[in-house]
């Protein structure tokens, strides 16, 4: 661990990344699909000189800008902010591998923002042909930015050949890349139609126009649902073994996967029977229901994508506790406290007596007074476990997980977390350090709940 670990009570700091990422993707997919919607539909409305539809599209473009250019852009920047402070080593690694990927994505951001503003603010002043072209510039750039960022996020789930080759392209063209581009493109189509329905049921007053919108937007939505399912299958096939196992083993994830497929299929049929065959059915209630389904599906999808990556942030490269996977054997020899820049400084400052030739002597740690051992156990907990577990209470609080455990049970998990659950990183410290952490955990563990009856020994 090269960096200080940010302690966020109750939630744990990586949960902030999860929260902001979900808030972002809900809009980011619309930013892509909505761009295509505007380009295609404006072209259509111009071709048939459909004035009312054009007026509606202009209104939609304004809504689109308010949502995507403001909220979408800032939450996107917000992901940068939170990953830097809550997952610094992984962020540093990604940046050093992919800085030009992001730089390229940036070029498309510029095109997106310029074209979006021109598309809206010069509505009616540009000739139709140019106007539509600007719409397509937006749509194309937005989709390219999706492709570029997907290469990077997909890399985190399956780093493919990168650990051997260590080149940009080996990382970017990873096994998860194509399936995720499919799934995300599908998500963009589907979600955009749901945003359109939501907006149109409130804003398009004329029933004939509403029916037209309902019917026309059903097609990309149906296509989107298909792409999500296809991409989802490819995603599953290209998962590393550990991620597949995590998916199957964890009951919540299991349920979520079933849920997401069920929701997508349900949305598919509802779209088919509803807006596609019977556009008149589209009512505000229906649109809100659809929209909620869409948000739920996307949120669960993102949650699963994050969850199955454990114990890695970047598969086979960076572990959840912000150490390089390849450094684990060395840390087991020299110590986790010694290996971390800030943990070492902490020990050197508070307990200079355990230093020997400027290195932490593991044996000396156990010679410290009991209270100090517990305190160092807390340091180990925060730097080794707090990225996934809160302490006394909160998200996956370890004090709750080990409720009623014997010291030996705790010690066993501390010494071999990766054997207790393969989605925990291996113990990356010395046996003495494991002892310190065990002492700390036993100190904070909640007692066994009282009053439970199992018969009496006679």
């Amino acid at each position: 661990m090269h960096y200080p670990w940010w302690y966020v009570p109750f939630l744990t700091s990586p949960m902030l990344i999860a929260i902001i990422s979900v808030l972002h993707v809900l809009v980011a997919h619309y930013a892509v699909g909505g761009g295509l919607f505007l380009a295609v539909e404006t072209q259509y409305a111009y071709r048939y000189n459909h004035r009312e539809y054009l007026a509606y599209l202009k209104e939609h473009a304004w809504f689109f800008i308010l949502i995507t250019v403001v909220y979408g852009a800032i939450t996107g920047v917000g992901i940068w902010w939170t990953i830097g402070v809550a997952s610094p080593l992984a962020t540093q690694t990604l940046i050093h591998i992919f800085v030009f990927g992001w730089a390229m994505e940036y070029v498309f951001f510029v095109l997106e923002i310029v074209s979006a503003f021109i598309f809206y603010y010069f509505w009616g002043r540009l000739d139709p042909k140019t106007h539509v072209r600007i719409g397509w510039i937006y749509a194309g750039s937005a989709w390219m930015s999706l492709v570029l960022i997907t290469g990077i996020t997909a890399f985190m789930l399956n780093s493919g050949q990168w650990p051997e080759e260590r080149t940009f392209w080996a990382g970017f063209l990873n096994p998860q890349f194509v399936p995720q581009v499919f799934a995300r493109t599908g998500g963009a189509f589907l979600l955009a139609s749901l945003y359109v329905y939501l907006h149109a049921t409130f804003k398009a007053k004329d029933p004939a126009l509403r029916d037209l919108i309902a019917a026309r937007s059903a097609r990309p939505a149906l296509l989107g649902a298909l792409l999500i399912i296809l991409g989802g299958i490819g995603w599953y096939l290209a998962l590393p073994e550990s991620a597949k196992a995590a998916l199957i083993a964890a009951s919540t994830l299991n349920i979520l996967v079933v849920l997401i497929f069920a929701v997508t299929i349900a949305v598919f049929f509802m779209l088919y029977l509803g807006p596609y065959r019977n556009p008149g059915w589209l009512s505000p209630g229906f649109a809100i229901l659809f929209f909620t389904f869409g948000l739920v599906a996307i949120t669960t999808g993102e949650y699963i994508r994050e969850a199955v990556r454990k114990p890695y942030i970047i598969y086979n490269v960076v572990l959840g506790n912000q150490v390089y996977a390849e450094k684990v054997p060395e840390l087991r020899r020299t110590g986790y406290l010694e290996g971390g820049t800030w943990t070492k400084a902490w020990v050197a400052h508070h307990y200079p007596q355990v230093l020997n030739n400027d290195r932490i002597d593991p044996a000396q740690l156990l010679a410290l007074p009991e209270e100090d051992q517990v305190k160092l156990g807390e340091v180990l907990f925060l730097y080794h476990c707090n990225d996934c577990h809160a302490g006394r209470r909160g998200f996956s609080a370890v004090a709750q997980l080990i409720r009623g455990w014997t010291p030996d049970m705790v010690r066993t998990v501390v010494e071999h977390p990766e054997k207790a659950h393969f989605f925990m990183p291996p113990w990356a410290g010395t046996p003495e350090e494991a002892e310190l952490l065990t002492k700390y955990l036993l100190r904070i563990a909640h007692p066994r709940p009282a009053g439970m009856y199992f018969g009496e020994e006679k």
């Binding site: 090269h2 960096y3 200080p4 670990w5 940010w6 302690y7 700091s13 902030l16 902001i20 308010l66 250019v69 403001v70 852009a73 800032i74 939450t75 920047v77 917000g78 902010w81 830097g84 402070v85 809550a86 610094p88 540093q92 690694t93 940046i95 050093h96 591998i97 800085v99 030009f100 990927g101 730089a103 390229m104 070029v107 498309f108 951001f109 095109l111 923002i113 310029v114 503003f117 021109i118 010069f122 002043r125 600007i134 510039i137 080149t167 940009f168 392209w169 390089y324 820049t341 800030w342 070492k344 400084a345 050197a348 400052h349 305190k375 807390e378 340091v379 907990f381 925060l382 730097y383």
Partner: protein, 377 residues
């Protein structure tokens, strides 16, 4: 505690491009970022003051400042991505620790910015529907927005001064942490450079906003009443004067009151002396140009000349800041000596896309020019 022990090891991956390449984009990006950022940083507050106490022309000016604000903010955020990206590439060893120590204020920027951005939209929507008499509640939103922008600037000044103020890390960390893990509530307020830096940026923002007013009046305000442009020039001169005085005061405070002697010596020696001098006096040039236009009247060409001069001012500022940043860090680490593992093909692809992207933007802007000429002709 020796603060250098808190600086982590180098990335085994090395820099993806030579240091000079990274730093060029960082400085260029920051210069571009400052242009729109300054206009909202000082502009929103100015617009609120003018709306409140500005008289008729003042309110007109206030409206003209606020109306393009949504676009300026979008561009400014967008341009900020580049310097931030390259800061993280080249300064990761100090950027992450500094922002983690002040994680809560740092992350709160996102929340503040979202609220401020919607605040601007709410205000501008009022301009469209309510015209000259903006509803009270919208005015309140405008003031809060202006305050949020100042606060965001304050947090940025904190982060970037803390990044080089490695000496302060141990104390901030030991005071605000649990079991060695920072709480993320620190701020760099004990660093004497923080205050002049923050105020200096605001002063410079005033001068950029003044130039914006001049450019806007000459280029985009043909439909305003004729006395508007003269009034705008007068206002711009006033704002620019305050900005230049503020810049001179806070700049002297910063350089002579807070820099260590060695830094000052190095910035006043050899060729750097010329750069330091230019950075210090260059804001006077746009000011003189504005003064000249106030007396002799403005033209479009004069406005453009003023804008170019201002961009140069900002560029000098960005270059000097970069040199000072490296000098301050010099006692702790040398960011220029990291190994480089050049990523040729992504780099070339990026440059290619960059060129194409600029071409497409130029194409779009030409279309707009075509409408303007056809509408006026």
């Amino acid at each position: 505690m020796d603060p250098t022990t808190l600086i982590g090891p180098s990335s085994p991956l090395g820099y993806p491009a030579p240091y000079w390449f990274l730093i060029t984009f960082k400085v260029l990006g920051f210069t571009l970022h400052m242009v729109p950022m300054h206009i909202w940083y000082a502009g929103v507050l100015l617009a609120m003051l003018l709306q409140w106490r500005g008289g008729e022309v003042g309110r007109q000016l206030s409206r003209r400042l606020m109306r393009p604000m949504p676009i300026l903010i979008a561009l400014g955020i967008n341009f900020g991505i580049v310097p931030l990206l390259f800061t993280q590439v080249a300064y990761y060893k100090v950027f992450y620790p500094a922002t983690i120590l002040m994680a809560w204020p740092w992350v709160s920027i996102i929340v503040l910015l979202t609220l401020a951005y919607y605040g601007v939209y709410i205000y501008v929507a009022g301009l469209r529907t309510e015209g000259a008499t903006i509803a009270r509640w919208r005015q309140a939103v405008g003031w809060v927005t202006a305050a949020f922008f100042l606060l965001i600037g304050f947090f940025f000044s904190n982060a970037f001064s803390l990044m080089t103020n490695v000496r302060a890390w141990p104390d901030l960390w030991l005071r605000k942490s649990i079991g060695g893990a920072p709480l993320g509530t620190a701020l760099n307020t004990e660093d004497p450079t923080l205050w002049p830096r923050w105020l200096m940026m605001f002063s410079l923002a005033l001068t950029t906003t003044a130039v914006f007013i001049i450019v806007d009046a000459e280029w985009f305000a043909p439909q305003e009443r004729p006395n508007y442009r003269a009034a705008a020039r007068r206002a711009a001169l006033m704002i620019s004067t305050i900005g230049v005085i503020g810049f001179a005061t806070t700049g002297s405070w910063y350089v002579f009151g807070t820099w260590p002697a060695e830094l000052r010596e190095s910035m006043f020696r050899g060729p750097l002396r010329a750069l330091t001098g230019l950075t210090a006096i260059s804001p006077g040039i746009p000011w003189l140009l504005i003064l000249w236009q106030w007396r002799k009247g403005g033209t479009r060409a004069r406005a453009v000349a003023t804008a170019v001069a201002q961009v140069l001012v900002l560029a000098f500022n960005a270059i000097s800041r970069q040199i000072v940043q490296n000098a301050e860090l010099g006692q702790f680490l040398d960011v220029t000596v990291e190994p480089v593992r050049l990523q040729w093909s992504p780099l070339i692809l990026f440059l290619l896309l960059f060129a194409i992207g600029l071409g497409v933007v130029a194409w779009m802007l030409r279309r707009l020019k075509a409408i303007r000429t056809s509408e006026s002709g």
